[in-house]
């Protein structure tokens, strides 16, 4: 029998990305841990393809530029490199990049011998971890989809075309989400500006999550497994709107009316009209 490669067009469009949701968070992440900061790199497996080093570095730069700088000058950083192979030059690039935002790289946590050697030679303190044990109690929640959401990610700039924000918690964007830009959150998404790109809330399957924006001009909205596209003609609304999942799918209402009118029904896994719920 002849197996022809098939390129199927049918309906693919209507199914949200079927890749495991965990992989959506294969992004560099920066988090507080006592008086130090943890810089967590995705594992080799999480960056499904061989993402070139330059991409990882760009992402780091971008993260540091857009993240609200909620640290003290000179805060120490522990790099959780997991199974990533890093040479002395790459470690130096990371250190320099951190330096630019007044952070200082102190410790490298890794389970690769080569990375450990490079780190030690460059004068960093090294924590070598074995592959099986969790690298760090803090970082384990990133490794497994957990019900506990990470602290909200606050982005203080416009998310431009080509940028994808992934976060295992709620995302707040203080700016626009432009066409070609994407925000994927395990929690809610709030855009304090125009939402013109793609937003996916509740990306780990939580249908209770919501998406709100001062102005909804989205390319696509997704909440858990539901997808919504804008109708061909949608008059510009002047008031902020909020999107949520009802039994019929994603619905948009004026943000002001939402809390008054809707309540989440766990049995139906959807928001229902308060009056009808009784």
């Amino acid at each position: 029998m002849n197996f022809e490669p098939t390129i199927s067009l049918d309906k693919i469009d209507d199914v949200p990305d079927s890749s495991p949701l965990v992989n959506r968070y294969s992004q560099i992440c920066l988090k507080h841990d006592g008086d130090q900061l943890l810089l967590v790199l995705p594992t080799q497996a999480e960056i499904n393809s061989d993402l070139p080093w330059s991409e990882t570095w760009q992402e780091l730069k971008h993260l540091l530029q857009t993240k609200e700088q909620s640290w003290q000058v000179g805060t120490k950083v522990c790099l959780i490199a997991k199974d990533r192979l890093l040479d002395a030059r790459q470690l130096q690039t990371i250190a320099e990049t951190l330096n630019e935002v007044k952070l200082s790289l102190e410790t490298i946590s890794t389970n690769r011998r080569q990375t450990a050697v490079a780190a030690a030679t460059s004068g960093y303190s090294v924590q070598q971890t074995s592959l099986s044990e969790p690298l760090n109690p803090e970082s384990s929640e990133i490794d497994s989809p957990s019900l506990v959401l990470a602290e909200p990610l606050y982005i203080q700039s416009t998310v431009r075309s080509g940028v994808e924000i992934r976060h295992p918690g709620t995302v707040v964007i203080c700016g626009d989400l432009n066409p070609g830009g994407k925000a994927i959150a395990a929690g809610d998404i709030f855009v304090w500006g125009r939402l013109r790109g793609i937003a996916h809330a509740g990306a780990q399957g939580n249908r209770q999550c919501r998406i709100a924006a001062l102005q909804m001009e989205f390319t696509q909205l997704r909440i858990a497994d539901a997808v919504a596209r804008p109708p061909k003609l949608r008059p510009r609304r002047l008031s902020p709107e909020l999107a949520f999942v009802t039994i019929e799918g994603i619905r948009l209402v004026k943000t002001l009316d939402f809390a008054k009118t809707y309540i989440f029904s766990s049995s139906k896994e959807a928001w229902v009209d308060k009056n009808e719920a009784k």
Binding site: K61, H62, V163
Partner: protein, 265 residues
């Protein structure tokens, strides 16, 4: 203090090279010294647009390889005092240059010229990284088309991530008639999406193509052509002057639609 400015867009064919050559000429005409760097290795054509092609002897690559001195590689424009070009090699591939080397060239030129303007290749790969590596400021060129604006947006994001925050926007090839008929994005639409300050609006005009083919920057020709005026206005705004934008829409539509435009309707 000299200024190192990269002219970039993401998308190809939107007018980066046209902007670089005309802006360089306009600044030189306003008595500034200007060095233009062609960073589009492999596809050079800034020399063509400036009409300097047959005078190119050495290129940036030769300078980097130590085969000639920087001053030897610079091609002087005889028509405009103060305007020089550092040509790109046409035969070498882009990988033969590194961001650090571009930085060296630009910084060396910055010692002798008021403006260093870098003509960036299309795309966002190594050629782009080379071109922006030395830049302190950027001019984003876009046409009022969805795809061009999308790419411009992406490039602005990359520039911001690199710490290049002084960004000016040039909307090129605007067709007032099409805007009026709602068939083309307006300058306002573009501005609203990109959210960076506007520094120039250039109409779509066949005089631009004629000048390109002749290898003669517009400001050298008849001064009163609209695109020539648009470029010298950009040069003046770069110099810090407040110059009102040309009302390209002035001849379009009736009184009512013009009023609506004025009041942002």
């Amino acid at each position: 203090m000299s200024r190192i400015i990269v002219v970039t867009s993401g998308k190809g064919g939107v007018g980066k090279t046209t902007t670089t050559s005309n802006l360089g000429a306009a600044l030189a005409k306003q008595n500034r010294s200007v060095a233009l760097i062609d960073a589009d290795f492999g596809l050079r054509n800034l020399d063509l647009l400036l009409g300097l092609e047959e005078r190119v002897v050495y290129t940036a690559i030769d300078v980097l390889a130590g085969e000639c001195r920087l001053a030897q590689a610079l091609v002087k424009d005889k028509r405009l005092k103060g305007l020089v070009l550092l040509p790109a090699a046409q035969n070498r591939n882009k990988e033969s240059v590194q961001p650090e080397q571009m930085k060296k060239l630009a910084n060396a030129l910055a010692k002798g010229y008021d403006y260093i303007i870098i003509d960036c290749p299309a795309g966002i790969e190594l050629g782009f990284r080379n071109a922006i590596s030395a830049a302190e400021e950027a001019l984003i060129v876009t046409t009022p088309e969805v795809a061009a604006v999308r790419d411009a947006d992406r490039v602005i994001g990359l520039l911001e991530a690199e710490g290049v925050n002084k960004i000016g926007l040039i909307v090129n090839r605007v067709k007032p008639l099409m805007v009026e008929e709602n068939k083309m994005m307006s300058v306002e639409d573009v501005l609203e999406l990109l959210g960076v300050p506007l520094i120039g609006v250039v109409p779509d005009d066949e005089k631009v193509i004629v000048a390109t083919n002749r290898g003669e920057p517009l400001v050298l020709g008849e001064y009163d052509s609209v695109p020539a005026l648009a470029y010298s206005n950009i040069a003046r705004r770069l110099e810090g002057e407040k110059v009102p934008f040309l009302d390209l829409m002035a001849n379009q539509g009736n009184i009512l639609s013009r009023l609506r435009r004025m009041f942002g309707g």
